[in-house]
Symmetry: C2
Subunit: 432 residues, 2 copies
Amino acid sequence: MAGVGIIGFGTVGTGTVKVLLENSELIKKRTGLDLKLIKIADLDIKRNRGVRVPQGILTDDVSQVLENPSIDIVVELIGGLRPAKDFILRAIRNKKHVVTANKALLAEDGEDIFREAAENGVMIGFEASVAGGIPIIKVVKEGLVGNKFLSIYGIINGTSNYILTKMTDERISFQDALKEAQRLGYAEADPGLDVEGIDAAHKLTILASLAFGIPLSYKKIYREGITNITPLDIEFASELGYRIKLLAIAKLLNKELELRVHPTMVPEEYLISRVDGVFNAIYVEGDAVGPTLYYGRGAGDMPTGSAVVSDIVDIAKKIKSPEPNSIGTGYSDMAIKDMGEIMSMYYFRFTAIDRPGVLSKISGILGEHNISIASVIQKGRRIGGAVPLVILTHTAKEKDVKTALSEIDRLPVVADKSFLLRVEGKEEDIIK
Amino acid sequence: MAGVGIIGFGTVGTGTVKVLLENSELIKKRTGLDLKLIKIADLDIKRNRGVRVPQGILTDDVSQVLENPSIDIVVELIGGLRPAKDFILRAIRNKKHVVTANKALLAEDGEDIFREAAENGVMIGFEASVAGGIPIIKVVKEGLVGNKFLSIYGIINGTSNYILTKMTDERISFQDALKEAQRLGYAEADPGLDVEGIDAAHKLTILASLAFGIPLSYKKIYREGITNITPLDIEFASELGYRIKLLAIAKLLNKELELRVHPTMVPEEYLISRVDGVFNAIYVEGDAVGPTLYYGRGAGDMPTGSAVVSDIVDIAKKIKSPEPNSIGTGYSDMAIKDMGEIMSMYYFRFTAIDRPGVLSKISGILGEHNISIASVIQKGRRIGGAVPLVILTHTAKEKDVKTALSEIDRLPVVADKSFLLRVEGKEEDIIK
């Protein structure tokens, strides 16, 4: 028997309790394990969550979980940095294994947790911290353990994917799509974590540490959100055969790792470009397995509960001989590439005055910086007024692109700051 | 340290050895495990496989693997029913854990293996037996362990998916696409296992036993191959917004399980309809996690080697306290639904004489059998000659469909045996 205590009876807590209570018999048949829910701690023990928990389980005293000798596994589901970290550390020092969905904490402040866990010989389960119900942690850590990873990228923030999908399907503005997401409960009142790519960067930190053996490197991730994307960009992307997705990217090239989160143009033929709404998908390429993709719900009470329960089961199986945590240890000294050094294809949208010679000026500057043009679209005519001019490039260096764009932005014929998106896909596919 | 012995140095054996040798340092860093390749047995120990193995490892004497006290894990990669089964049973009786990619053996004759494994306290790894490099066994067994599974279906035979993709892209016949697949080495000289759905049924047997807790039920799977599909059907499907895929399906409805392998019309909006060429993808729906999808290479030396190595690592981790095998034990008494009782939407292609009143006769018979029509396509006109008449139905019962079709086939105005495909998707989507 393994005793389970939960801290945090919110959305994910409720989902976890539902899965545990509803499917415990099934889990026992499958694994022989008897999981027993001992305590659930939450400040609010009155609210009806739509799940009936056995008498005496609810408590507003977190010590009844953290100090409980019957509890082997503490599940932290309150989120945020504090007091979550203190609770987790207390659990670890009490020799309790920990399961958490707290990506922000692990990404920004996970070293202490993994170090103390190692010192105390306890396991940390964090399947629920990345991509909700998709068992991507297990896939990367165990299913593909024989692979050197070459590339991992994905849609790992459902809120921003919902907004981008809505913008794409209905050609509405970011603000309008955000409002709709908020109305449906997919986005928070303060949506920054999601739409600025912070949440995606948290998850990428965890995935990259696990897959590439680097320390948790949240601060080294280049990050751009989706707030500047306009319906015009979505339309141009579509015309060029692409969809715009917020991708979290970890790519190994010449022993250097690229870590970046930004809106990206993805070819329409890629499966991942078809991942819509709140769904998540992660593309993982290994040297042996080749390309693989994992798709599912990235959030929600039950999908995340499914991930939490799989961690509980895994830990319960290994309780007699705990396995070391293989994350954050930094066995690899892989360098993280400076953003300026990455190579990518690019989409530029310039706001140019419609006047003879503008294209030649702009393309001249691009050429001087070794940026070669794959295609050009100019829409509408407003002699003497500003029109969008779109350029798709061949592979170029980010640093060169930034320099060229700042020169272009200083041209008198350019009316507004230019906008760029990085483009995924094969160079040879760019001209169709 | 865990000692590994391999039987069978063919395609998958070579891939496994490559992964083991190339990435053993990485695996050690990740897991702390020291995997040591002790022996490889094959009848042919002369042929150059493009991989350099350490001196003294190759042998043509299988006993050097099966009886070797340094070997903890025996990897069976010769395929086929005999002598693979004898080797596996000998390994088990010698208290060696077993990893196998042999879906035919597990599906058709796995009970003895799992029973003897239980009696001898050894583990059987079979990740490589289903969907090559996609870690679908681990996902179903561990990653989604908290879920009651509602539905699992997928493209799990790369050869037939390659042929269907080729037929779709180039509108060529099955025979021509098969020839191309054979030329490229994707199909065997005798392609029956693949194109008749036998291989897919083997894999479905394993997945269904694992996911639903039923005994290995290969003989109970309804099975149809892709040999009768014509370019005409591909064209009609496309016109109706569908792709034809060979799906292996396990669906739980009202405590009864449907188990079937057949070509299926899948809506173009479904991700799985976009899975092309030799790739595999499996859709898994759990009560907690909701819909998920797993995509990757379903065959090949390195992808399958990746799966074999993940099994070796898993077993090596648990060697001190082996875990019981959770397949084939049949803890569930779930009934397997008779094929006649399944409900589906259908695509019919009739070869009808182009004469007034034919549609009325055919639709009359369908109506009498409670089969309601969603749409009708008739192409071309050949007064008095045979033309294809295509009908898409709403949900109907298979038994009724079979009865109706046999009545229709007896009509004097019907020139050839009618052809049917089952249609996946939501009833409400069928009229677009």
